[in-house]
């Protein structure tokens, strides 16, 4: 299937790679079909590209790259709605927000995106009573400071 994207042009994606978010994604409730793009140049960041709207691609990453101990509690009924047969088919992503100062980028650990890659189903699960932060800094303050130095030197 050919998918038009505003960031990466027209891409040819196998039909089986299409992921249905039957409830949409909060803020994009009317868009239910997505593909997960792993574009070499932007790894380790991925893009959850809407099939029906070229402008919509949520930037995502592996939450375990930010917090290795991340352990979101997802209800069994929520996994059932993704028609999961084997936990090994599950992929967990977190959305990334980048402010003007990129070293202050954050991920949303309070609402992971869970994908059943084999079954082509996905959902964003807003965790109930969670200790995880909706704006978890990707880099610690120390890392951010280090990056600010690099930028200054480069300029």
């Amino acid at each position: 299937m050919r998918i038009d994207t505003s960031k990466f042009g027209v891409l040819d994606v196998p039909d089986k790679k299409i992921i249905t978010f039957s409830c949409g994604i909060l803020g994009f409730e009317n868009l239910t079909e997505y593909v997960l793009l792993n574009i070499e140049e932007t790894l380790p960041f991925y893009w959850l590209q809407a099939v029906e709207n070229r402008e919509v691609a949520l930037s995502c990453m592996n939450p375990f790259d930010v917090m290795p101990s991340y352990n979101p509690e997802v209800g069994l009924d929520e996994l059932e709605s993704l028609m999961v047969e084997d936990a090994a088919d599950l992929l967990i992503l977190t959305t990334v927000v980048v402010p003007a100062e990129p070293s202050k980028a954050t991920v949303n650990l309070a609402a992971p995106i869970i994908i059943n890659a084999k079954g082509g189903r996905g959902a964003q699960i807003v965790l109930q009573n969670t200790k995880y932060n909706i704006r978890q800094p990707i880099f610690s303050d120390k890392e951010g400071a280090k990056y600010a130095d690099i930028v200054k030197k480069a300029e």
């Binding site: 803020g27 980048v98 990129p102 070293s103 949303n108 909706i134 704006r135």
Partner: protein, 80 residues
């Protein structure tokens, strides 16, 4: 919208499995106890609103901004 007045310790029953009790009232703050089947998701509305706005920001990021982030990551990898 149905509007019901409830006093401290009074309850509301919704359908077959949901009971909401008023547990405490202090100034402008009300504590509610909610008994519901575990497959009912109960969330604070402002969390949903925050996730919605966060998702929109996440879709508003250019590949160029991600490129900058990637550089920070690469640098972190080299030194750490």
């Amino acid at each position: 919208m149905l509007i019901l007045s409830r006093k401290l310790n009074e309850e509301i029953v919704i359908g077959d499995g949901i009971t909401i009790s008023v547990l405490a009232i202090e100034g402008d703050k009300v504590s509610l106890g909610i008994d519901a089947p575990s497959d009912f998701k109960i969330l604070r509305k402002e969390l949903l609103d925050a996730v919605k706005s966060n998702n929109k920001q996440s879709a508003d990021i250019s590949a160029e901004q991600i490129g900058k982030l990637k550089n920070i990551f690469a640098d972190k990898g080299k030194k750490g």
